[in-house]
Symmetry: C2
Subunit: 388 residues, 2 copies
C-alpha cells in the first residue's frame, strides 16, 4: 500500500441526530466539539485551527461568519477558523480543507466540524434553502427540487438497467436495520419492504421512505499531524486519502444522469493517492440522500458494475455481513441528514468502525474505510479513505 500516515483522527464527537426543537445551532456545535475534545483526551488549547462545514447558515438561521462563531463558542479565539460550503457536501469539504491545513504545515491539531440546524424555519423555507444547492436559474426557480431530480435519476436508472422500485426500497430497509443499531440515529427503528413500498409517493418513483429526512445535528473530529498524533493518542485512525470532484449543478447538463462524474473523479483521486482499490475497502459510508443515490454511489465508486447496484443491494452484498457493508451508521436515510454535518458524521462512523467501537453494527477486523459525500444532485463530491 502506497499511502502515508501523515494526518490522524484522534477524537470524534456527535450530537443526537433528529428534529431537535429545543436545541440551538450554538448548543449543537458546542456539544459535538466538546465531545470530540473529550474523546481525544487533549487540552482544548492544543487546537490551533477550525474548519467548519455548513450549507446555509444564511437561509436556515440568518447567521454567516460561522467559523468565527464556532471558535468563539469554543473559547479558542484568536485561533484561525474558516467555514466551508459545498451544499450537502460541506462536511466532506471541511474535512478536506482540514486535511490540507495539516498537510500544508500551517496547522498541527485542528477541528473539522459540520453542523446544520434545519428545523428553525417553516417547511417551505427548508425546501427553498435546500434548493439553493441546485441551479437556481435553471432548476430551483422553475420548481425543481431534489426529490424531483433524484426521481429523474431513478427513472432513467430503471429504464436503462432494469432497476426496480423494490431494489431501491431495499436500500432503505438495510439502512434502517443499521440505524436501529446506532444510538445517534434519527430513526432507530427497522422497517420492512412493505413499509417502504406502501409509503406516500413524494416524486414518482421515490416514496417517503426512499428519502432522507430533515435533521438537526453536528459532528466534529480532531485531526493531528503524525508527530502530535503519536504524542497525544494511543489509537489514531489515519486519514490517508482525499479526493474531490465537481459537476454542473444542473442535472440537464450532465453527460449521463445515472453516473455522478463528481463521484467518479473523487474516488479515482482517493484510490490513486492511496494505491488502494475497491477490494481493499472494508466498509463505506456513502451519500444516500435518496435510495437511488446509494445505488449510483456504489456503482460510481466501483463496488459493483454500472447498472448492477440494484441487484447488488438485493443480494445483500451491502449489508453488515455482505462483501462491502455500506452505510453501517444507518446512512443519511436512517441516521439523518443535517446537510452540513453529514460528511463529518461519516468520518466519525469510519473512525468508530476502525477503532472496533461500533457496537452492534461493528464490521469485524475493519482496517480500511471510505466516506463518500455528495453536494446537490452531484454538483460536488468528496471521497475520503481512512486506515487503522
Amino acid at each position: 500500500m502506497a499511502f502515508k500516515k501523515e494526518v490522524a483522527i484522534i477524537g470524534v464527537g456527535l450530537t443526537q441526530f433528529g428534529e431537535l426543537w429545543d436545541r440551538s445551532f450554538r448548543s449543537l456545535i458546542t456539544e459535538a466539539g466538546t465531545k470530540a475534545i473529550a474523546d481525544a483526551g487533549i487540552k482544548p488549547e492544543k487546537i490551533d485551527g477550525l474548519f467548519g462545514g455548513n450549507m446555509s447558515g444564511g437561509l436556515f438561521i440568518k447567521q454567516e461568519h460561522l467559523g468565527s462563531l464556532a471558535m468563539d463558542q469554543a473559547g479558542l479565539t484568536p485561533m484561525p477558523a474558516m467555514r466551508i460550503e459545498s451544499a450537502c457536501n460541506s462536511g466532506g469539504q471541511a474535512l478536506r480543507a482540514a486535511y490540507m491545513g495539516i498537510k500544508s504545515g500551517l496547522h498541527d491539531v485542528v477541528v473539522a466540524g459540520g453542523v446544520e440546524k434545519m428545523t428553525d424555519v417553516l417547511t417551505g423555507a427548508t425546501t427553498e434553502a435546500l434548493a439553493t444547492a441546485a441551479d437556481q436559474e435553471w432548476e430551483a426557480f422553475y420548481g425543481a427540487t431534489f426529490p424531483g431530480e433524484y426521481a429523474l435519476i431513478a427513472r432513467k436508472h430503471m429504464k436503462e438497467y432494469g432497476t426496480t422500485e423494490e431494489q431501491l426500497a431495499k436500500v432503505a430497509v438495510k439502512n434502517h436495520y443499521n440505524g436501529a443499531r446506532n444510538p445517534y440515529a434519527q430513526y432507530q427503528n427497522e422497517i420492512t419492504l412493505e413499509t417502504v413500498m406502501k409509503s406516500t409517493r413524494v416524486a414518482d418513483p421515490l416514496k417517503l421512505f426512499d428519502c432522507s429526512p430533515i435533521t438537526d445535528g453536528a459532528a466534529a473530529v480532531i485531526l493531528a499531524n503524525a508527530e502530535q498524533a503519536k504524542e497525544l493518542c494511543d489509537d489514531p485512525i489515519w486519514l490517508v486519502g482525499s479526493g474531490a470532484g465537481t459537476d454542473s449543478l444542473a442535472l440537464h447538463d450532465r453527460r449521463d444522469i445515472t453516473t455522478l462524474d463528481a463521484t467518479v473523479a473523487a474516488a479515482r483521486q482517493a484510490f490513486k493517492q492511496t494505491g488502494l482499490t475497491t477490494k481493499d475497502i472494508d466498509l463505506a459510508e456513502v451519500h444516500d440522500c435518496f435510495t437511488i443515490a446509494e445505488i449510483c454511489a456504489i456503482e460510481d465508486i466501483g463496488f459493483c458494475k454500472k447498472g448492477e447496484g440494484g441487484k447488488f443491494t438485493e443480494q445483500g452484498q451491502t449489508s453488515l455481513t455482505g462483501s462491502i457493508p455500506i452505510n453501517t451508521s444507518g446512512g443519511l436515510k436512517s441516521k439523518g441528514h443535517p446537510v452540513g454535518a453529514t460528511g463529518i458524521a461519516q468520518a466519525v462512523e469510519a473512525t468508530l468502525q476502525l477503532r472496533g467501537k461500533a457496537d452492534r453494527r461493528q464490521i469485524k477486523d475493519a482496517e480500511i474505510a471510505m466516506a463518500h459525500n455528495v453536494g446537490g444532485s452531484g454538483g460536488s463530491c468528496t471521497v475520503h479513505i481512512f486506515s487503522r
Copy 2:
C-alpha cells in the same frame, strides 16, 4: 529574510467594481476568471482546483454550492472546488485555503476567487444579509448593524486617544485620491475634507463618506507551486506568508473594542512565518470598511503605535508618497467592497504593485506588500504577505 518562495501568483483578474445592474453573478465570476487565466497566459486545463470566497450567496442571490457553480462556469469540471465563507473576510480566507491546497501538495495550479453580487436585493435585505456577519442573537436581532458597530469603535477611539473626525475623514480623502487612479474602482473621483465632513451622518460620528459602499464585483488570482510557476511564468509574485485570526462576533465580548485581536494574531503569524517586520512592508491593502477600521488596522498591524493612527494618517504617512502607503487601490472606501471579493482584490493590487504595473498609483521599487482582510467588526481576519 526567512521566507520560502513556494506558492506564486501567476495571473490576476478583476471586474469593474460598482453597482452593476446589468451583470449577473455568473458573468462576474466568468469575467474575473477568464481575465486571470489570460493574464497568466496558461491553458485553462492547467488549473486543478478552485477556492472561492463568497459571503452570502444564499441571502444575496438564493444560490449556494458556489464552488461547483464556478467550476462549471469555467468549464473545468470535474476538478475540485470549494467555497469559503468568513463574512467580509471570505476572499482572504479563500486565498489562505488555496495557499494550503498548494502547500499540502494536493494541488499544483489553482484559482483563488472572490465574488459578491449585492445589488440584486432590496436595500433593507442587503443590510440584513450583511448583518449576518455580526452576532445574530446578540447584535443583529436587536438592530445593531455595522455602521453602528464601527461608530462605537470610533467613539471609543476618539475618547481614548483623542482621534478626531477630521482625522477619520482624511482616510477617505486619501483613499479617494488613490481610487481616482484605479480604473477598476467604483468611485474614481477625488474628494475634499469638506465633502466628508459635510456628508450625512450615518451613525454618529461616522458620516456617509466614512463608509464603504455596496458593490458588485469579482476578483481572481491564479496560484501555482514553485515548479509550475517557474515553468509557466516569467514574473511570479510570491505569496510568502498567511496568518489568520478570530474573535467574538459580538463587539461587547471584546477585551478592547478599539483593538481587533483577530488582526493582531493574524499579523503576528504572517510576520513570524516570513521573518519580516512592519519596516519591510512597502505597501499594504487594509480593510477600510469604515475610515475608523483603517485607523485600527494600521495600529493593530503595527505600522504605528496604538492610538496614533489618526495622527499618522494626518501626517500623510499612509499616502502614496508616505512612509507606508495604505490602500493604494483606493481601498474598500473608493474601490468598492463586494464583500466576498475584497480579499482577493487586495491580492490583485499587491500583485500589480509588485509587478510595477500599478500605473499612476505605483509605489516605486515595491518589493514586499501586505493584504489585511477583516470579517464583520473583527470576528475574523487574514493577513497575507507577498514578495517579488
